[in-house]
Subunit: 456 residues, 2 copies
Amino acid sequence: MKKQEIPYKIYLEESELPKAWYNLRADMKNKPAPLLDPATHRKMQAKDLAGVFCDELIRQELDEDTAYFPIPEPILNFYKMYRPAPLVRAYCLEEKLQTPAKIYYKFEGNNTSGSHKLNSAIAQAYYAKEQGLKGVTTETGAGQWGTALSMACAYFGLDCKVYMVKVSYEQKPFRREVMRTYGASVTPSPSMETEVGRKILAEHPGTGGSLGCAISEAVEKASNTEGYRYVLGSVLNQVMLHQSIIGLETKAAMDKYGVKPDVIIGCAGGGSNLGGLIAPFMGEKVRGEADYRFIAVEPSSCPSFTRGKYVYDYCDTGMICPLAKMYTLGSNFIPAPSHSGGLRYHGMNSTLSQLYDDGLMEAVSVKQTEVFAAAEQFARVEGILPAPESSHAIKVAIDEALKCKETGEEKTILFGLTGTGYFDMMSYEKFHDGKMNDYVPTEEELAKGLEKLPQI
Amino acid sequence: MKKQEIPYKIYLEESELPKAWYNLRADMKNKPAPLLDPATHRKMQAKDLAGVFCDELIRQELDEDTAYFPIPEPILNFYKMYRPAPLVRAYCLEEKLQTPAKIYYKFEGNNTSGSHKLNSAIAQAYYAKEQGLKGVTTETGAGQWGTALSMACAYFGLDCKVYMVKVSYEQKPFRREVMRTYGASVTPSPSMETEVGRKILAEHPGTGGSLGCAISEAVEKASNTEGYRYVLGSVLNQVMLHQSIIGLETKAAMDKYGVKPDVIIGCAGGGSNLGGLIAPFMGEKVRGEADYRFIAVEPSSCPSFTRGKYVYDYCDTGMICPLAKMYTLGSNFIPAPSHSGGLRYHGMNSTLSQLYDDGLMEAVSVKQTEVFAAAEQFARVEGILPAPESSHAIKVAIDEALKCKETGEEKTILFGLTGTGYFDMMSYEKFHDGKMNDYVPTEEELAKGLEKLPQI
């Protein structure tokens, strides 16, 4: 064991919990492109979004100028039940790899939702409650977001209606049961409850559903139901704002011990974790105050950054949501059924897309068997059983640490460990049994995904 | 929200981690009765146990005089990956109950094993490694202990062979998969691998197995295999010793904030959590330095304390383990198949049995539907989804807090939240669907359980 100057786990004091979220867009020179109306292609205004989203969340979504949003006290009180989250020095992994690199990870899995999703769920539930709403609707794929929102709604006494991608609903009955424990109603999607659901079922009777389709159902339901709004766990800029708590805490903990990361690594699906983790560091970079290397890691089966196109696209299958300019595989793209875990959204948050397009961030894609191998290696030395999503970041952090071993560089590597894999053991089982494959979409499949792009 | 003087979560610094375990027996006036040889009924000596247990663990098991055992540094280093564990002030639960009581819980679920079991697993794996052994065998029921031991063995590079009660093996494939992730081999028990397993299968071909039977198999395997020893996750006094870390940390955290509990509540199966939590507090009580009320909570379907007998009994179904004097339902007792979670062992740790017999501790039994109702109530306000085992303590803590509401007393209640329920969602589902029943054994069933007591 190496000499210990920095503790294994850095816990900030409750009094050191950040009191405001950071809005990275305020410091960006090139702002992300605005949301457009799917019918008229005009820039969306607050009033256009009011039937679907909560008022305060719309304000946060559209605000590109305010750098800091104070966190309301009821949200801070809830945060105190599971935050500040630990920043862990991976001494055991470093020793195992025999690397001169110093590895840190911000662990967001120490709460019942099992991931960082709770950071935004509690904020969104709070604003819905403040607005006097009865409830919210949403979709969930792997189930982390649905679980987080159920917990948040139970805390504030809101109804919670979750459309769960049918294949997940069937493969993950225990995720569903956790949501029920928190009082949510969970419907497999596509369902007969909505017009868009019925339409999709008529066209594809045996479909296992998709995130894009579940979004359409949840949005339709919220629009048609008095006292309800729709909430979303990733992709949107309001979510990035709430998730900045991850990066703010991480930076505060590192500053406290005089540590500066050289490389910052996060997994990327819709971008909620990556955007949150890098926010304050990227803020320094765009303001010219410091430099860091940022790496977004995505699955090779759903490679929005590395093989997608930077264009305006639909956010959902039903094409009823606003259009966003983003790196996308096209709303027509269907991730392989063999794909494990989350990170299967066809698009990417618009702010991250702009940063990537500006060359401020790198991206790599990794195959799922190498991701699970890294997950297992990590679990055995660091104790924590990671979520498949988080393990994408682990894989690349290990790769970077091994490069340091070759070059002898003592780099400081930081990555986001977004959650735990307790509800993903079916995927681990596939991996153990050698039944997991490394599907990579062909050029033809990618072209097909982009067939239904809006003409802007 | 109440005015906050004490934080939501009290985390000790890493430097405040206890450096020695506390052996409560050293301070007890009436020592627990010694282990006896099952054949000769003579007091077991270290040499009699050497073929089954690790040498250092035998020393700890038999030592009634040494009050403190220094924790070896490699164990301390492992502890630092997930300890000190938080002591949580249950502000949200207090507010929900509108009670003047102050409620605290020590949360042991923030590690991948999902429970306190890891505290002893890592110690036992360490001593096995130090002795130069190749591996260890054990049994697991609900799966928490097996998971913890798998993690500990992965860390020290030991083989780990787990006999898992067959009904759990089949109902909890994901628990099994976690163990495989950590490299353990898991066999459903009873199996054809051991003599005792083959004998039980011949007598009861369709049996789902039991903890007592899996213990017998694991002990036989360890005795017959070169370089292997048997390890156990509860019941034994060595386990109580390691688990004293729970109580020591709790007491240190409370002392730091000048808090003294009036009532201390823990769930009781074999006694590992209860014994660990109460150790330093009970130490003060038996030394006459302070007084506390202690409550052991057990399931009404497996009520060793409240309806069992204080006698010498077999620890396993195969009757090959040493005899222990304990509160027991008899090794012939079979818990109802409807029983959820752990806490289904027929006996109880001998030290706790002696303390209970001396009137130093109370015990109550609770029904499983009221336990799950308390679990759900707790989850919705405190966020954490508790294990069914831990929820026994939650139920009684809530009852005590509601009594305070009636009397207006501002008592300080402390309970042990031993773990999380992520692998117990099948039981939660039964509860949600109204399919859970409250089985209580009849007097006849209890009498039958005691039919095979040894004649001492």
